[in-house]
């Protein structure tokens, strides 16, 4: 019945429309954090901050936000303004204009207790013991000495460094010192953790240990901001990114969306036997172990795959070419330097 069909279609249309609206609203809320406290709480809101040193603009009208439970990557070349941005977020230096809202308020002493900060260049009191250093720096975060000692012992056990707790900091290796510094950053159960180049100088074992602890932080619903040059780490760990160059935002948003945006119309193929001519493939490039099929723009990868399967070709690898974050980074930074 045409009327019934129309009604059914209308119902389906309405349901789709409602679903669409709800999904978009949730996405909007997630991105903008309008419903603070109920659905999502923004850990960081940076609005149009500007900072100049002498005649150089280090950060130029930068805005971004980080939600709770999010692993956020802050990336950019040397001198892009990452560290200056972090220092403004930590209230170590003041922005010339714009505002920084941390955990829903302007940074205060109470808010500082909810922050964990791992600076790019590490430093601890060389003459103090590991335990003394941790307990003192933790007490400055509003944790009493007894709890600080208990937590320090637990984290030292977890990182396999309990045996070194009486050693002076100067007796530790660089990597061990970094683990201690990381413990100091997270021991007070912060809501927001900001880490500047956390993997620098770490061996693979300690890198994995740190990554596992990052996962724990994310699972606990903490917001983690990771500032690093190591794009592979950002790709592996972060949900969203902000790429800055010359103090300005170059890329900002969901990492998978950004990568999808930069996806090229080519397919990487490793197969047994000759491929021959494939409809919709403009040209081919041979690489070591695979060939790159450059599609004509009208053909989809699925159509190519269907064609190959229909011809009975054994396929070892079929991958839609997606640029790495490193390639995107080089492309964007290179574009700005041209």
């Amino acid at each position: 019945m045409p009327t019934e069909l129309m009604i059914n279609n209308a119902i389906i249309f309405n349901q789709v429309a409602i679903c669409y609206l709800v999904t978009n609203t949730i996405n909007y809320v997630l991105q903008c954090g309008i419903v603070k406290g109920s659905l999502v709480m923004l850990a960081v809101e940076v609005n149009h901050i500007v900072k100049s040193f002498a005649d150089k603009v280090a950060v130029d009208d930068l805005s971004f936000s980080v939600a709770q439970g999010e692993m956020f990557g802050l990336i950019g070349p040397n001198g892009a303004g990452k560290t200056t941005t972090i220092r403004m977020m930590m209230d170590i230096i003041k922005p010339d204009s714009g505002e920084v809202i941390i955990l829903g308020e302007k940074l205060s002493e109470a808010t500082k207790n909810k922050l964990g900060y791992l600076p790019e260049e590490r430093g601890l009191y060389k003459k103090l013991s590991v335990l003394e250093s941790i307990v003192y720096l933790t007490s400055l975060k509003g944790v009493d000495r007894k709890s600080a000692t208990e937590k320090a012992n637990a984290l030292l056990t977890q990182t396999g460094m309990l045996a070194s707790k009486r050693k002076k900091i100067e007796e530790l290796s660089r990597g061990m010192g970094q683990i201690i510094q990381f413990i100091v950053t997270i021991i007070h159960d912060p809501q927001l953790v900001i880490m500047d180049e956390p993997f620098a100088g770490l061996d693979p074992v300690n890198t994995e240990l740190l990554k596992k602890m990052f996962d724990d932080l994310r699972n606990q619903g903490k917001a983690v901001i990771l500032s690093t040059h190591q794009m592979n780490q950002v790709e592996e760990l972060c949900d969203r990114i902000l790429m800055i160059n010359d103090g300005q935002a170059v890329l900002y948003g969901d990492l998978s969306e950004i990568k999808a945006r930069y996806r090229s119309s080519s397919v990487l193929l490793d197969c047994g036997g000759e491929v021959g001519e494939i409809p919709g493939v403009g040209s081919m490039r041979t690489h070591r172990g695979y060939i790159e099929l450059l599609l004509d723009g009208k053909t989809t990868p699925q159509q190519v795959l269907t064609h190959l399967v229909s011809r009975g070709i054994t396929i070892n690898r079929f991958e839609v070419a997606t640029p790495s974050l490193n390639e995107i980074f080089l492309k964007e930074v290179g574009k700005n330097h041209e």
């Binding site: 500082k112 600076p119 430093g123 400055l140």
Partner: protein, 405 residues
């Protein structure tokens, strides 16, 4: 717990555990105790040896100088001619000789001959020869007691009276300056050391970037006030140890040494004012150190800059001898009020003369205001130059930035 207090406690404990601090704090009473002990040991085991007689020749061309030839341990030996006396001097029979010229009574000329190179006649020899001549000239003319009195006519016993005419509890004299003198030297030393330590600590924290971790937990003001108070408290411990050991050491010393040491006394209010000036001095130098630490890119350069103002702590000591001679010169008043010289000058002046109450009040008020002002500027400078690593701004930039804030 208050974060300023946490920093204060950390800095205090860190400071008093330093080897340098412990050594300086304990060395004063320990060295004094050792000195008293060594003196006691030596004096109880000491057996006076036979004092050797010194022979001094003389030729009496004037005549009448033949009595009182024994003056203490010096024996006068008469020679008939200068040649005989010279021969005896060369042979070592006499250590020297003098000639009483024929016209001595009218001219007073005495020719003295010696084989030693001397700047002037040693006072002991001069006194002996003077007494020998005086005694002989007065012999038989006045009673012997009068002769002695002429030779030593002065034996002052000075008593200081108060405005009401009563005997003052605090009498003057060199015994009064000993404790303030030693104390002010130690104060200057301590101010320099603590200031250097603070600059070093701040420089290290800047260099190691630990400062960023600290400032992600506390404010600049909390950090600086905590540091300054922590070092001030450590200084107070030092001064309390010294002052507390002083009465005991004095008691021990006076029973062992007797004499001059027994005249040593602590000037009135010295204990209270000592502590007040120590705390204020520490706070002032710590605030200055914080400012220097703020504008210095590293610990080494900070220490070089801190030499400029730590020198002022020693300036009053350079001029202390002038202060003893001219205690009422207005320059001492200026130095008592000028904040960087005030603590050490006030301590020295307490031993030398009186300081008027208004002078102390002005001095303390200026010190307190200076501490507040410098701490305010240091906090500003700290924020401006906190992240400036590797390069020190020039003075013009510093003043501009402090003004614009």
């Amino acid at each position: 717990m208050n974060k300023t207090f946490l920093i204060f406690r950390h800095e205090f404990l860190h400071a008093i555990k330093r080897k340098g601090f412990i050594i300086i704090t304990l060395i004063v009473p320990v060295v004094a105790l050792i000195a008293i002990g060594v003196f006691h040991l030596v004096s109880t085991t000491y057996e006076p040896s036979v004092v050797e007689t010194t022979y001094v020749g003389y030729v009496d061309e004037s005549g009448g100088f033949d009595q009182y030839t024994t003056q203490g341990t010096i024996e006068m030996v008469l020679f008939n001619t200068p040649d005989d006396a010279t021969a005896a001097l060369i042979n070592g029979e006499v250590s020297e000789y003098f000639v009483i010229t024929a016209d001595y009574i009218s001219t007073g000329v005495i020719n003295r001959y010696t084989m030693e190179k001397q700047l002037e006649t040693p006072p002991a020899i001069a006194t002996v020869i003077k007494n020998f001549l005086t005694s002989n000239m007065l012999a038989g003319k006045v009673p012997p007691e009068t002769v002695y009195r002429i030779e030593a006519p002065l034996n002052f016993i000075v008593t200081r009276l108060t405005e009401t005419g009563a005997v003052a509890t605090e009498q003057g004299g060199y015994g009064n300056i000993i404790i303030p003198g030693i104390f002010s030297l130690l104060l200057a030393l301590s101010l320099m050391l603590s200031s250097t330590f603070l600059v070093q600590g701040l420089g290290d924290e800047k260099e190691s970037r630990l400062i960023e971790v600290l400032l992600s937990s506390v404010s600049t003001r909390q950090l600086l006030i905590g540091k300054v108070l922590g070092l001030g408290a450590a200084g107070l411990v030092q001064v309390v140890v010294w002052l507390a050991s002083a009465p005991l050491l004095l008691k021990l010393a006076s029973s062992t040494f007797g004499g001059f040491i027994s005249t040593i006394q602590l000037p009135t209010n010295f204990l209270i004012l000592g502590i007040v000036y120590f705390i204020l001095g520490y706070s002032l130098f710590a605030a200055l150190a914080a400012g220097i630490g703020a504008i210095s890119p590293n610990a080494r350069e900070g220490q070089q800059l801190s030499m400029i103002y730590t020198l002022f702590a020693f300036v009053p000591l350079w001029f202390s001898s002038l202060m003893f001679i001219f205690p009422n010169n207005p320059i001492w008043l200026v130095m008592t009020i000028f904040p960087v010289t005030a603590p050490v000058t006030a301590m020295l002046r307490l031993g030398v003369s009186d300081i008027a109450a208004w002078e102390l009040a002005v001095s303390i008020a200026v010190l307190v205001l200076s501490i507040i002002g410098i701490l305010f500027l240091a906090t500003r400078a700290f924020r401006v130059y906190l992240l400036m690593y590797g390069k020190r701004p020039n003075w013009r930039e510093i003043f501009q930035n402090l003004r614009s804030g």
